[in-house]
Structures are given as structure tokens and as C-alpha cells.
């Protein structure tokens, strides 16, 4: 009886051998990839199967699978995972026509992955405990003694690494290390594992200030309603290293047996239709193709003035990890 039930579950998931299908490893929010996959299936008839997990777990899995990987496309929430796979020569070059659709700085310098969406980091603060005038304008201000015991931090969160790299790039490694050590002092008792935890905790009054990827604040407000949201968000000063653009990108695996279909999928992601699918359905990210309107609840992309650091300069985040480990945060 057990064997039949296991077999039944297997049969239910067996794909038909005739029509082509793509296997996508996605570190993006499930709603985003589902919107893209459904739209692509409707447009082309190519079935898209999705495995969702975290960026790095999937990247590790791809590395362990190596050239035997069954995956065709890798969609990452942030660029470090893509840069890492690129360094290991696991990615196939993206078609030039696809790369041409988005600004060059938002894709791989080598052409192995293409950016499809972006978000910029900002501050989240508890409105009951903190006034907007008290908020720091520079990311270095998070190290101020006034935030001791009030700062919420997630050092292992992938979104934090670009900020660390940007700080080190602008102010030098020594200053970045000192800044991180001060953050460690300020965040005592409020060190969490990811952005989801940070936003929930700051909303609940555990910790007053944090720097996050805005998706999580919008998602929280969406779920619990404006009435239960006791937090607000604010950008840092223009060009500040804490005000960093994180690019979400897609790549094709070199080992994929469906290269043509995979290229079509990536081309679809940067087409008007694909970008429009991205911009709605509560994805809270900016489409990278110029001229596509983002979710109206977000401030317009043209008003953003982030630090000019590029995805290529951010690399695979190893520099950030080393600094975080040296400062004792990791």
C-alpha cells in the first residue's frame, strides 16, 4: 500500500516526454517566478517547472551537480550567486539581443547572465520609537552610540553584503571593519537570520532601526494591513553606500540540454510582456527594461539616486563575507 501511494505521487509529477519543458531553479520570490512562468507558457507553449529555494542553496546545489545538473535556467534574487556560478564556468553566454535590452551595468560584464529586475536598499524604522528627523542620512550613522541596543541586523542576509562591499569600496577596508564592529555592539540582542525576521521584529518593537530590501516591508504591510504596520521606510542620502541597487538576474546553465528554449525564456523575461508580468502581482521590484512602469506603490525608478556601484563590482560577495567574519558578526 505504501508502494502504491509513493508510486501515485511519482506518477502525478511525471512530465510528458513529447513537449519541451524547462527546469528553472529560482531564488526569487515564488510569486514573481510563477507570474513569469505562466505568462511564458501561455505565450510559447513551453512548460516551465520551477524549484524554489534560497539563492545560495540553489547555487551550491548547482555546483555539486556540476555538468550533470538537470537545471536549464537559474534565476537569482541577487547577483552574487550569479557571479559565483560565472566564476566557476557553469553558465552559458546569454544571447546578445537579450543583453541589449537592459542597461549594461545591470548585467554580467562577461555576458553570462542578464539582469531582469532590481531593488534598492533602505532604512526601516519603528514609527512609535523613532522620528524621521532622527534617522541617519549615511549608512555609517548606524554605528552611532545612540542606536545601541536598538539596531536590528541580519549579517547572514544576502542583501546586506552589497552594502558592506559598497562601504569598503568608498571608505576603505579598515573603516568598514570598524563600522561593522560598531554595528555588532549596537545590534546586541537583535541579530536575526534574515530580512523577514528583521521586518517582523522591528514592527513588533523589538529593535527600532534596520537596513533592508524594501520587498519585505511592502509584503508585511500587504499581509497585515496598514493598521498593523508600525514601521515606515526611508532612503538614505543620494549616493550613500547604504543606498545600493541589488540586481535580480537570470542565467542559462552550460549543462542545459534545452539551450534554445532557455534563451527564449530569458528573452521573454526582458520583453515588454515579461517585464510587465514582473512589475505587478506584488513583486515590489523595478523592471530593468527602460520604459516599463513599475508597481505604482513604489517610488518611481527615476527618483532613485543610489550608490553607483555595479553588480560586477559587487562580485560574489566574498569580500563582504570576509569582513563580516573578521568583525565577528559571522
Amino acid at each position: 500500500m505504501l508502494a502504491t501511494s509513493v508510486a501515485a505521487v511519482s506518477a502525478a509529477t511525471a512530465t510528458s516526454g513529447s513537449s519541451p519543458s524547462l527546469l528553472v531553479y529560482s531564488g526569487q520570490h515564488p510569486g514573481t517566478i510563477e507570474a513569469l512562468a505562466q505568462a511564458f507558457e501561455q505565450a510559447t507553449g513551453i512548460k516551465v517547472d520551477v524549484r524554489t529555494s534560497l539563492d545560495a542553496t540553489l547555487a551550491t546545489q548547482l555546483v555539486v551537480e556540476g555538468s550533470h545538473s538537470p537545471a536549464d535556467v537559474f534565476l537569482a534574487e541577487n547577483s552574487p550567486a550569479l557571479e559565483d556560478l560565472q566564476q566557476r564556468n557553469l553558465l552559458a553566454p546569454v544571447a546578445a539581443s537579450t543583453l541589449a535590452k537592459v542597461p549594461k551595468r545591470d548585467s554580467s560584464a562577461q555576458g553570462d547572465w542578464v539582469g531582469i529586475a532590481a531593488h534598492a536598499s533602505l532604512l526601516v524604522y519603528n514609527t512609535a520609537d523613532v522620528q524621521p528627523s532622527q534617522l541617519p542620512t549615511s549608512i555609517l550613522g548606524l554605528a552611532d552610540p545612540q542606536w545601541k541596543g536598538k539596531l536590528a541586523l541580519a549579517p547572514s542576509e544576502t542583501d546586506f553584503q552589497p552594502i558592506v562591499v559598497a562601504v569598503a569600496a568608498k571608505y576603505g577596508k579598515a573603516k568598514a571593519l570598524a563600522w561593522l564592529s560598531a554595528l555588532r555592539t549596537n545590534a546586541v540582542g537583535h541579530v536575526y537570520s534574515n530580512n523577514t525576521a528583521i521586518v517582523s521584529q522591528v514592527n513588533a518593537g523589538q529593535g527600532d532601526l534596520a537596513v533592508i530590501d524594501p520587498y519585505y516591508w511592502y509584503a508585511l504591510r500587504d499581509q497585515f494591513g496598514a493598521g498593523a504596520t508600525h514601521t515606515a521606510v526611508q532612503f538614505l542620502a543620494p549616493g550613500d553606500p547604504g543606498y545600493v541597487v541589488d540586481v535580480s538576474g537570470a542565467a542559462i546553465l552550460r549543462s542545459s540540454k534545452h539551450q534554445a528554449e532557455a534563451q527564449r525564456f530569458l528573452a521573454f523575461m526582458v520583453s515588454r510582456q515579461g517585464q510587465a508580468a514582473l512589475a505587478h502581482d506584488q513583486t515590489y521590484e523595478y523592471p530593468l527594461v527602460p520604459g516599463v512602469a513599475a508597481d505604482p506603490v513604489l517610488p518611481p525608478w527615476s527618483t532613485l539616486q543610489p550608490d553607483p556601484i555595479t553588480a560586477a563590482q559587487l562580485g560574489n560577495g566574498l569580500e563582504a563575507v570576509t569582513l563580516l567574519q573578521e568583525s565577528g558578526l559571522l
Binding site: V6, A7, A8, G31, T60, H68, P70, T196, Q223
Partner: protein
């Protein structure tokens, strides 16, 4: 013929109790070798990765100041939680198996239920209800109340089959009641108790989700950090090897503490139950408090989510599909683990040679490894050598079976230790064949253990997340993975039904266990 009559006949024939070969030693050794081979695949993967990276880099990873902190954290946590779980587990098992506690079947179900609570639900529940519970003491509290069932189950199974005659004999020889209990019953449950403690300590090494939320740094949380942000698989594997080393120390310690082991006598009458009398309400309150803390907190979290949450834009995978998938995978894995545990337990309990001990010990190592590492290891081999099996239902079931096999083994060892070898000897002299002996004598004796082992593996496998995320068949979600997907997106209202269903699904083996325990006791009383 009743068991008592067989014993008398054996005595009259002058059959001596000699440990010699039963059930085809070759068969047992071969089966154990296969099982040990499967259980050691993760270790092979770690060693392969370590060899690729080289000694100097491994050493630099291990020789950081953080490693000392992690080691200290791990040691003090393991000691505190293991002792706590042992005390609570034995006390609870004694209450339900050796006293006339009312509603025993209900208590049995409730006392094993904490195993059905996923670590992320547990962590979140505690963090929301009592934000002050975090760090070292928070982790001790949460892990003790969450893992005592791992001691409770094997000890209860052992008490169920233990021989009350020895207790009576001790009492007639003048020992006071408490001393009689300590000497005889504790001796009889020793393998089960030590096995349970071993399992608790190994599982602590691999635990990740709860510590992440409670902000307690261990080797396991550090391994995840290395995987997740450092893309540093070799470093993560180096740290995993440290866990293996610690696991080996624990395994050796358990062997040393347990000693050579004493063959057990039979099971005649059902156990004499102590009358609680006036203590009964006090005991009930204490058990209720324990259950309240260990299950009440996560249940509160689930209710909170039902109330708090609203709709979700995530694709609505049917709850029934996920529940069916979970039940199917976990039942299959539990059946395989239990089936595989029988030859290994028989081999090591009946014939204690170096080979049998080595084989048995080697299968425990996998329990010290985080699920993510085991999944990566099995995935590594299957994607290269069995590609059609990669990310299939069969592979996921096999992964669960490998990960949780030690749990089944611990329970089976306790059960086999209780089953007297002498009865099999007698049956052989009376002319029964090996198969007949196994089916008519050994298997019925092992039945409580088989059921407890099945229930235990099922319960623990149903909450597994990290390995499942890696190896589940594409398009199939389990209750745990779907729950995780929803909570990562703040969709708590959508996630709550999955957590609740998980606990309901887990109640099935718990109820089964309670029901069968009662029936077996009743049958023995009648014989």
C-alpha cells in the same frame, strides 16, 4: 504454548543459554553492511570535498576564534539538554507504563507529539510568545521540551516489554521499592535510555532551524552560513567533519557507558502498575504542564497565524496533495528504516563482535549531520551514477530513510535487548525452522519496538525541511516545504493550515502506538 510454559519446558530439558548463531549470521552481516554503506555515503561525500580542497584551507577554516565559541556552545548545550531530556523522558515513560495513570493512551499520544512540531514553528512560536527566550538557556528550554520524546519512546517500549518478575524478586530479597526500581528496571531500560540520549545529543549537533531563530550559534548554524553566504562548500564540509568527529566521541562514550549488556529474561505477566493514589492529580498536572509547554507554544503560534494572516498570492497547492505526499514519503521511509534496523539490531545485540559493533556505530554518524549536507551528499552521487533517480520520490524516501535510520535502530536495539534469546533456542530444539522461529517468536516479541520505531521515524521525517527542499520531485510539495514557502513571504494565514495538518498527520502514528501498546499488554495478560 504460552511463553511461561515454554520456559518451564526449556528448564526441564536442561537447555543452557548459550549465545550462538541464530538466523543465519551471514544474512545479518550482509544486511548490516548494506545499511551501513548507505548510511556512510554522506561521510564519503564530505571526505571527497575535503580532499579536493586540501589540508591548509581546511585548517584555516577550523582554526578561527569562532570555532572555539562554537565548540563551547555545542558541548554545554548537549550536556544540559541530554540530561534534561533523559530525566523527563524516563519520568514520563514510567508514568505511562508503570503507574495506573488515568487516560494513559491519551498521554502516550500527547507525549510523542512534540516530535511532530517542525523546528521553525517551534522557534517562531517561542520567539513570538516569549521574546525573552533566546540564546543558551532559551535553546536549552526549547530543545529539552522538544526532544524528550526521543528518550520517551524507546524507554516506554522497553518498559512495556521489561520483566516485572525481576522487580518482584528484588523486592522479596529485601530491597526497598525505590531501590528495586533503580536496580532492576533501570538496568533493563539502560540500552533504550542510552540509545535515546545518544540520539538526542546527535540530533542537537545537526539542529539548525530553532537555533537560527533563537540566535544561538552552533556548528550547524555556521555550516549553513558557509553554504548560504560564502558559497563555500569546502568550508561547510570541513565544519561538517567536525560534527562527525564530535558524533564519533558521543558514540564511543555511549558504548563505554553502556557496558557489555546483560541478556534479558522473558516477558511473562504484564507489568505491575504502581498505584498513584493521591499523587495522581499532581502527576497529571505535571504532565499537562510538560505537554502544554512543548506543544502549546507552537499551537499558539499556529492559532496566531490563522488570526493574523490574510490571503496569499502564492500558487495554491492543494493542502490535500501536500498532506498525501508527506504521509506517503514518511510512511515509506519509516517502513524502510524499521525494516533495515531489524538485522542490524539483531546482529549487534545477539552477537557482540567488533565487526557488528563497528557496523552499528557507523550508521549513527548520519544523525549528526544537518539534512542539507546529507541531501547534497546523496544528490552528488545520484546525479552522477543514477541520474533518473535524481530528485525523484524514491530518492527522497531513501534520503529520509538514511537520515532517520538511527532513530529506528535505537528503538529496535532496546526492543531486541528485551527479547529473550532463550526462547528462540528452545524453539530450535523443538524442531522449528529459522523462518518459523523468526515469524512466530522473534517478530511478536519485537512488535512494540517495530511500531515505536515506525512511529518515531514517521514523526521526525514529516517535519524535515532542508533536505526536502533540495531533493523533492519538482512540482511536489510536502507540508513542511509549503509551510516554509508561505512563511518566508509573510503569508502566515496561508501557512497555518499546513502546520496544523502536519501535527494532525503526526497524531496518526501516535494514536496507533497508544492503541497497539494497550492491545499487546492485554494479550499478554490473557496468555
Amino acid at each position: 504454548m504460552t511463553n511461561a510454559a515454554v520456559e518451564m519446558k526449556a528448564a526441564s530439558l536442561g537447555v543452557r543459554r548459550r549465545p550462538h548463531v541464530r538466523f543465519g549470521r551471514l544474512l545479518l552481516v550482509t544486511a548490516s553492511l548494506i545499511v551501513a554503506g548507505a548510511a556512510l555515503l554522506p561521510l564519503a561525500f564530505l571526505l571527497l570535498q575535503a580532499v579536493q580542497v586540501g589540508w591548509t584551507e581546511l585548517w584555516s577554516v577550523l582554526w578561527r576564534p569562532l570555532t572555539a565559541t562554537l565548540l563551547w556552545n555545542t558541548v554545554r548545550l548537549t550536556v544540559c539538554v541530554t540530561i534534561g531530556a533523559a530525566v523527563i523522558g524516563v519520568a514520563a515513560a514510567w508514568c505511562t507504563e508503570r503507574t495506573d495513570l488515568p487516560l494513559r493512551r491519551l498521554w502516550t499520544v500527547l507525549l510523542v507529539l512534540p516530535l511532530a512540531v517542525p523546528d521553525f514553528v517551534l522557534g517562531f512560536g517561542w520567539n513570538s510568545l516569549a521574546p525573552g527566550v533566546y540564546g543558551f538557556w532559551g535553546s536549552v528550554l526549547v530543545m529539552t521540551t522538544g526532544s524528550y520524546p526521543l528518550v520517551y519512546l524507546p524507554v516506554a517500549a522497553a518498559l512495556r516489554s521489561a520483566d516485572p518478575d525481576l522487580e518482584d524478586v528484588a523486592r522479596t530479597l529485601g530491597s526497598r521499592r525505590a531501590l528495586a526500581f533503580a536496580r532492576t528496571v533501570l538496568q533493563q531500560i539502560r540500552p533504550a535510555l542510552l540509545g535515546g540520549c545518544l540520539v538526542v545529543s546527535l540530533i542537537l549537533l545537526a539542529e539548525f532551524g530553532t537555533f537560527e531563530i533563537l540566535r544561538f550559534q552552533t556548528f550547524s548554524t555556521e555550516i549553513f552560513n558557509e553554504f548560504e553566504i560564502g558559497f563555500n562548500t569546502p568550508a561547510a564540509c570541513a565544519l561538517s567533519l567536525v560534527l562527525v568527529a564530535i558524533g564519533l566521541c558521543l558514540l564511543v562514550t555511549e558504548v563505554v557507558v553502556r557496558g557489555p549488556g546483560v541478556p534479558r529474561r522473558g516477558l511473562g505477566r504484564p507489568p505491575r502498575r504502581a498505584r498513584l493514589g493521591k499523587l495522581s492529580p499532581l502527576v497529571m498536572i505535571a504532565l499537562a504542564a510538560l505537554v502544554g509547554v512543548s506543544i502549546g507554544v507552537p499551537l499558539w503560534a499556529i492559532v496566531y497565524w490563522f488570526v493574523q494572516g490574510s490571503s496569499s498570492t502564492l500558487p495554491a497547492t492543494s493542502l490535500a496533495h501536500a498532506a498525501l505526499a508527506t504521509a506517503a514519503y514518511c510512511s515509506a521511509a519509516a517502513a524502510i528504516s524499521t525494516f533495515a534496523a531489524v538485522p542490524v539490531a539483531l546482529l549487534v545485540e545477539r552477537r557482540r563482535t567488533r565487526l557488528s559493533m563497528l557496523l552499528e556505530r557507523s550508521t549513527y554518524i548520519v544523525l549528526a549531520l544537518p539534512g542539507l549536507v546529507v541531501a547534497l551528499a546523496l544528490g552528488y552521487f545520484s546525479v552522477r551514477y543514477f541520474p533518473t533517480l535524481y530528485q525523484s520520490s524514491g530518492e527522497l524516501v531513501f534520503t529520509y530513510a538514511v537520515m532517520f535510520f538511527p532513530l529506528a535502530l535505537v528503538v529496535m536495539r532496546g526492543s531486541v535487548a528485551q527479547a529473550p534469546a532463550g526462547l528462540e533456542d528452545v524453539a530450535r530444539t523443538l524442531g522449528h525452522g529459522r523462518a518459523s522461529i523468526f515469524l512466530r517468536i522473534t517478530l511478536p516479541l519485537l512488535l512494540p519496538g517495530l511500531l515505536a520505531a515506525f512511529a518515531l521515524v514517521f514523526l521526525v521525517a514529516s517535519t524535515e525541511l532542508t533536505a526536502t527542499l533540495l531533493l523533492h520531485p519538482t512540482g511536489v510539495e510536502t507540508l513542511a516545504t509549503q509551510f516554509w514557502a508561505y512563511t518566508s513571504d509573510f503569508s502566515y494565514g496561508a501557512a497555518a493550515p499546513y502546520a496544523l495538518t502536519l501535527m494532525l498527520v503526526a497524531m496518526v502514528p501516535g494514536v496507533m502506538l497508544g492503541f497497539w501498546f494497550e492491545r499487546i499488554g492485554g494479550r499478554r495478560a490473557a496468555s
